[in-house]
């Protein structure tokens, strides 16, 4: 049996289309449901969009984060851990003031991971950047490498940690994007608080899911990364800076 050139191309094209379609369908299916015994995959990438136009003088996100994760200070601002903070920007020319929450930006190319000598600082398959405190030696290279000053060192003994959020002296910590909540299908505490008590300025979702709220909002208007010149492709995006 001999195939004409046209028939061959036709069959080949159909085969390629079939291969592309089948995994595509499976990707969506996997991305939507994950049971507790399934590992995270790179089919998802979690991200945040913060609309600075809506973010006003309020710190609901900071309070909620520190409450959720049991982050407590000792009244020593220079060394107390800080997972999220409100930053005030003032335009010197016009005097216009904006405030925005800044936390770990969950970069696609995280500098903290590049410099970590033990592999404690790592990026999970779904894009969440974490510190594995079991292997962190507390050298703080990641704190120096982070352009957003997102990480803190735990200087003092910790007590009364939250069961889901272990924290200990001598290790570095930062925003986990509330990984313990995300893994069970909830949204991060800061986003929940902003929607409830704040100004509804934060959206959380899967950056790789074309039907997610965050993806639609990012597609609908201009947004920016902090320090886009560093090409880190952050998971946290801002609008209205």
């Amino acid at each position: 049996m001999s195939l004409s050139r046209r028939e061959f191309i036709g069959i080949g094209g159909a085969a390629v289309a079939g291969m592309a379609l089948a995994p595509g369908l499976r990707l969506v299916e996997l991305a939507q449901a994950r049971s507790p015994d399934e590992a995270v995959t790179s089919l998802q990438r979690w991200g945040l969009l913060v609309d600075i136009g809506k973010c006003h003088d309020c710190d609901a996100c900071v309070t909620a984060c520190h409450e959720e994760n049991g982050v407590t200070g000792h009244g020593r601002p220079a060394t107390d851990p800080q997972w999220i903070r409100k930053v005030t920007l003032k335009d010197k020319q016009s005097g216009y003031v904006q405030t925005l929450p800044v936390m770990c930006q969950h970069c696609e190319e995280p500098p903290c991971v590049d410099v970590c000598p033990t592999g404690a600082s790592f990026k999970r398959a779904d894009g969440i950047v974490l510190v594995d405190k079991h292997i962190c030696i507390g050298c703080r290279y990641c704190m120096m490498a982070c352009p957003y000053k997102a990480r803190s060192f735990v200087h003092e003994d910790t007590t009364d940690q939250k069961p889901q959020v272990p924290r200990g002296k001598g290790t570095v910590e930062s925003c986990t994007l509330c990984v313990h909540r995300v893994d069970v299908g909830k949204i991060p505490a800061c986003v929940k608080a902003c929607n409830k008590d704040g100004n509804k300025a934060m959206v959380f979702g899967d950056l790789k899911d074309p039907n997610s709220d965050i993806r639609k909002q990012l597609a609908a208007g201009v947004s920016t990364q902090l320090r886009p010149d560093l090409n880190l492709n952050t998971g946290v995006r801002y609008r209205g800076i």
């Binding site: 507790p36 015994d37 399934e38 590992a39 995270v40 790592f122 999970r124 398959a125 779904d126 974490l130 594995d132 405190k133 079991h134 910790t158 009364d160 940690q161 939250k162 069961p163 889901q164 272990p166 924290r167 200990g168 002296k169 290790t171 990984v179 313990h180 893994d183 069970v184």
Partner: protein, 144 residues
Amino acid sequence: MIRKRKSCLAIVVALLTVVGFASSAPASEAKKPERIGPTVKIHRGEKCVEDTEFMRRNHMKVILHQRDETMHQGIRTTKHSLKNCVDCHADPKTNSVLDQEGFCSSCHEFASVKIDCFSCHTDKRDKNAVAVAPFKGVAKRVQP
């Protein structure tokens, strides 16, 4: 005649030795010092997630395996999680596994093995944990 007597004596001596040995055997067992071991109080649950014998020797391996899976792959099954250990084994009075008679500390102190887990993880039971019917506290002596 003398030979007969001699053989009788030998039999009696042999019997006495046998009886002596037999009676001395339980005596030596009774003299054995009591086996020393920590008192481990098990407060809740009829049964652990694995066999007790297996857990005594391997609990650290089980927790270590689960730790890496949870941290790096987001696998949050509760069966082998440290949180599950604490939720079940915490003392109902103190809610902790670390007090003097705590489930973890009593044995670890006896064996003089330092536990690193609780420098970061909480030793207290999660107040919101799913309540399991309390099991009447029994003090068990664990043989070393």
